[in-house]
């Protein structure tokens, strides 16, 4: 395949609304920019080949190849990908109180633990006021980590700040991201160059904490939807418990059926093959059962080590995943994946599945009996 660059990225991803808003390209060069979660190629560098194209999570990606680079082998489990452990988890006794935590505060506790232990020198998180576009932060203090707790349900381009942080020589960091962002970072890490020029990630150790993610909202949510309902400046909290959106203000709560949000889903999310951040070191999601807990998947050795250390220190509390709920999780994930692979238009262009992977997804679905 001839090398591709920014103009291809523009044509194959941006112009066809396949951009996930991960933000990675916008941190690579001054020609890609992002404002209010809209990413664009704002001028041209004149080069025909670029890292931007190579690392974007929506340019063609060989799933098996990434499995091999991250975990050293193809996967056995075609629903959840590589994993070493599946748990219920939440912030432990030793962790500081996490006021704005989404569910069990697992993510915040892990980040805070890594920072205080000196395992990481910074953490790439998503912060901001609830009524406006969230903002990426490179957190270095406990206050910043705590302030970033809670899910923001839009496609915050957190990775915009990643390259700058690595270039500034941050030796190790935690990146908390949506699955598309985890994939983007993995693609960046797999770029092999002899020169230090593009071998960006060599100097930085990364802990990738992935989030479950079935969809994110488009910019229209903050630009039009919220202002049409109330004054966004007054919003104190946004919540998405199952089936509804709860907007809290000092005047009270506004409850809206989740169906009102459907038209606002980012188009790229409709064809997302990875709801569970399959390439992360650890993946955290809801339990769909008990909001005080999280689902936690330990995937890599690095992830398991962090998990064990945090648990041993009392920053994290884990318990076995309830056996009767495993199939619910697998079904939900398999359903989304199969829809993407077997949709009327066929698998989306970015998704390159080897034969075994393709069969695996379809078979897993049949075996679980859902359709």
């Amino acid at each position: 395949m001839p090398p591709k660059g920014p103009l291809h990225l523009q044509k194959e991803v941006l112009q066809v609304e396949q951009c996930t808003g991960c933000g990675l390209c916008a941190g690579l060069c001054p020609y890609f920019n992002v404002v209010d979660e809209r990413v664009a190629l704002t001028s041209t560098c004149g080069l025909s080949e670029g890292l931007c194209y190579e690392v974007c999570p929506r340019t063609p990606t060989d799933w098996e190849l990434i499995d091999r680079t991250v975990f050293g082998a193809p996967r056995q489990d075609h629903v959840l990908g590589h994993w070493q452990g599946l748990y219920y988890a939440r912030a432990g006794e030793a962790a500081p109180a996490i006021e704005g935590k989404q569910y069990g505060g697992t993510v915040t506790a892990l980040v805070a633990f890594a920072l205080t232990q000196g395992l990481a020198h910074g953490a790439l998180l998503t912060s901001g006021l609830p009524g406006d576009f969230p903002v990426p932060v490179l957190a270095r203090t406990m206050d910043e980590v705590l302030a970033a707790a809670g899910s923001k349900y839009s496609a915050t381009p957190t990775l915009q700040a990643l390259v700058g942080a690595m270039r500034d020589g941050l030796g190790s960091m935690v990146v908390v991201g949506r699955p598309c962002q985890v994939l983007a970072v993995r693609k960046l890490q797999s770029v092999k160059r002899r020169t230090p020029v593009t071998n960006l990630t060599a100097g930085t150790k990364l802990f990738l904490l992935g989030l479950f993610c079935f969809w994110a909202l488009s910019s229209a949510f903050y630009e039009r939807f919220l202002p049409s309902k109330l004054n966004p400046l007054e919003v104190t909290r946004l919540d998405l418990p199952p089936y509804e959106l709860v907007v809290s203000t000092p005047k009270g709560e506004l409850r809206l059926p989740v169906d009102e949000l459907r038209p606002l889903i980012r188009p790229a999310c409709e064809v997302c093959f990875d709801p569970t951040a399959e390439f992360a070191d650890l993946t955290v999601g809801s339990t769909e059962d008990d909001p005080r807990w999280n689902t936690l998947l330990a995937r890599s050795a690095l992830g398991s080590e962090l998990l064990e250390a945090a648990t041993a220190a009392g920053w994290l509390e884990v318990r076995p995943y309830p056996a009767d709920r495993v199939h619910l999780l697998r079904e939900a994930v398999a359903r989304k994946k199969r829809r993407v692979v077997t949709g009327p238009a066929g698998p989306p262009p970015y998704l390159f599945l080897q034969e075994a992977y393709h069969r695996g997804v379809v078979a897993a679905e049949e075996e679980s009996g859902c359709s």
Binding site: P30, Y31, N33, A40, T42, S43, V197
Partner: protein
């Protein structure tokens, strides 16, 4: 040297503009106004410096119309008044001027207008003589700085004699040329304003008749007042009629071709109305006539008409000039500035000589072509970068209407070619008002007007009010560098000082916009990413809204104060290998961003760098570093 030194008879070297200013002093000017415009900017600057001392008034006016109106007021009150503009500026004043030409004036009123052949520092090469003709005003034109100085006095006398404003038209090559000027005496007495109980100046169509009479009278005076010159044989079959610098070029051509005994040279100092009686004398005996004048074939056409009126009485004669491309002009096709070579080539042709003689003297030096660019550290570069990025992000292909000022460069590479139109002062906003109504055709492209602070005061208000009243959709972006930078930092109505350096009452942009109810944001352009967001968000809004990008002109910032030392860490710079493809010196292209060809790395020319730090925010490798101060917008 002081312009007002009282040493009559002494000869000093003066620039044309300084000579004009000195001429005004010697003529006892009482009231001088101007809006800065090249090539005549320095005249008012020089006058303002000595105004208080010499006991007259000088101001930078908000625009040329008001400048001429102010000067006219002084004239109606019996004072000697001078209004200085560039050609384009006279257009702004023309509506008033055509009326003033009807009512006439009292004290001498002289309009010094600088034309800019080839438009060296203008968007067009406009010939003022046509405007003066529309307003029925006599036009004088000098050939040298000395003559320019004298001519101011002549113009005042003529204006008073006719009770009509007089235009002193000059061109860049006179304004910016230097020459020996012998000083005359300065007046000792000063006039006092007065207005008689019966004095009325009310313009009515019937006054047209008086205007024509005044012009006939002016033409008659030309010879007595030495406003036509002649050199050459008593009866010349080959005649050159020339004015302004053209007269010098013609004289030189005749000399070089050694045809002094064959070619007659008429020099016109009064170029409108045509001094027909004098001209007739020479035209009657000529067989071929070459007209050498700046910009348009104005005299040429008057002479053609004169020949026509005398058909049958004079022997046949052939007329040459710009019209038939004998004078090619530096743009070709009879357009563009004169040069000595062009005039000599024209004379060679009509004399039927072969190839132009080799003089061994290069009169035309062509410096390498360089594209105009913003200065190092200019806030406009950052503003345009943010603007073009925001427009691309917005994705609706905003239409950007440009205006007149430094930011006019936004049409070229230095402004990332973001401007769609550039016309006249303030007209970008008027165009925006129109584009902003195209929504009635379901036109979805946003409209952006880009204009500077000085231009805003000059001409933006009526267009802005129009847009508001008619509910147009537009984003007004004011590139506020807190000065009139293009012409050399003259103060404008937003400043605390006036032309004479005295305290003024600043009129704030914000207050005007607030008063009109225009939603407004103010943003520091050097904070590039925030500017991008501010513009992006403002693009999404509707109706009339404004954004001020406020950063002082890089040439004005105090370099010693709080400046960030900005440099390239060549260890971090990725050179050719960086995916940015030489962003700093090739794309961003601040003159201080340079390329070290030897090492294949970027560097910053610290003698040019103003320490704005904008490039440091954009270098993707983080190789451009700042130290010695923290810019508030530095992230991370």
């Amino acid at each position: 040297m002081q312009l007002n030194m009282d040493r009559p008879g002494v000869t000093i070297f003066l620039q044309g503009n300084a000579a004009l200013a000195r001429g005004a002093l010697e003529a006892g000017v009482d009231y001088a106004t101007s809006y800065p415009g090249s090539p005549t900017v320095e005249i008012l600057e020089l006058l303002a410096q000595v105004a208080r001392q010499c006991g007259f008034y000088a101001e930078w006016s908000v625009n040329e119309k008001v400048a001429v109106e102010g000067a006219a007021a002084a004239s109606l009150a019996g004072l000697r008044a001078l209004a200085i503009t560039k050609a384009d500026g006279l257009n702004v004043a023309l509506d008033f001027l055509t009326c003033l030409g009807l009512t006439g004036v009292r004290g001498g009123l002289v309009l010094v207008v600088g034309d800019d052949p080839s438009g060296h520092s203008s968007v067009k090469e406009e010939d003022t003589r046509f405007l003066a003709r529309v307003a029925h005003l006599p036009v004088l034109e000098p050939t040298t700085p000395q003559e320019a100085k004298e001519m101011v006095g002549v113009a005042f006398r003529l204006s008073e004699h006719l009770a009509q404003p007089v235009v002193l038209r000059t061109v860049t090559r006179i304004c910016h040329a230097g020459g020996n000027v012998t000083l005359g005496p300065l007046p000792q007495e000063r006039r006092r304003p007065s207005l008689g109980t019966e004095d009325r100046f009310i313009c009515v169509p019937r006054q047209h008749l008086q205007q024509e009479q005044k012009l006939r009278e002016a033409a008659k005076l030309a010879e007595a007042w030495n406003l036509v010159s002649y050199e050459g044989p008593a009866k010349a079959e080959t005649l050159i009629v020339a004015s302004g610098p053209g007269l010098l070029y013609a004289r030189e051509a005749v000399k070089r071709l050694q045809r002094q005994d064959q070619v007659g040279l008429v020099g016109l100092k009064m170029v409108w109305p045509l001094p027909e009686t004098v001209l007739q004398r020479y035209l009657q005996v000529a067989r071929r006539v070459l007209v050498v004048e700046e910009i348009e074939p104005f005299i040429e056409e008057q002479i053609a008409a004169l020949i026509g009126r005398n058909a049958g009485e004079w022997p046949l004669l052939r007329l040459y000039g710009r019209k038939d491309n004998t004078i090619a002009g530096s743009f070709g096709g009879g357009c563009g500035e004169l040069t000595p070579d062009l005039v000599r080539a024209a004379l060679t042709t009509i004399l039927g000589l072969s190839a132009p003689e080799e003089t061994g003297f290069r009169t035309e030096f062509r410096p390498p072509e360089r594209e105009l660019a913003f200065c190092a550290g200019c806030p406009h570069r950052a503003s345009f970068w943010a603007l073009q990025s925001a427009i691309a992000l917005d994705g609706r292909r905003a239409v950007v209407l440009g205006d007149i000022g430094c930011y006019t460069l936004g049409r070229g590479r230095s402004g990332y070619r973001v401007l769609h139109t550039v016309h006249a002062m303030g007209s970008g906003l008027g165009l925006a008002s129109g584009f902003g109504k195209l929504k009635e055709w379901n036109w979805e492209r946003p409209t952006v007007a880009v204009l500077g602070d000085s231009t805003f005061y000059h001409a933006a208000l009526p267009a802005l009010i129009n847009a508001l009243y008619n509910r147009s959709d537009l984003l007004l972006v004011i590139f506020d560098n807190e000065t009139t930078a293009m012409t050399g930092h003259q103060p404008h109505p937003g400043r605390e000082v006036d032309a004479r350096g005295e305290p003024a009452k600043p009129v704030s942009l914000e207050q005007i916009l607030h008063g009109l109810g225009v939603p407004l944001k103010i943003q520091d352009p050097y904070d590039v990413r925030s500017s991008m967001r501010a513009i992006y968000r403002a693009l999404k809004e509707e109706d009339v809204r404004a954004l001020i990008l406020r950063g002082p002109c890089a040439l004005l910032r105090d370099r010693k104060l709080a400046q960030l030392r900005t440099y390239v860490d060549q260890m971090r710079c990725l050179g050719e290998g960086c995916g940015c493809n030489v962003f700093c010196s090739r794309v961003w292209a601040c003159p201080a961003n340079r390329w070290d060809g030897l090492r294949g790395k970027a560097y910053i020319d610290e003698t040019l760098c103003t320490g704005c730090g904008a490039c440091a925010q954009l270098c993707p490798a983080g190789a451009i570093r700042t130290e010695g101060g923290e810019a508030p917008w530095r992230e991370g």
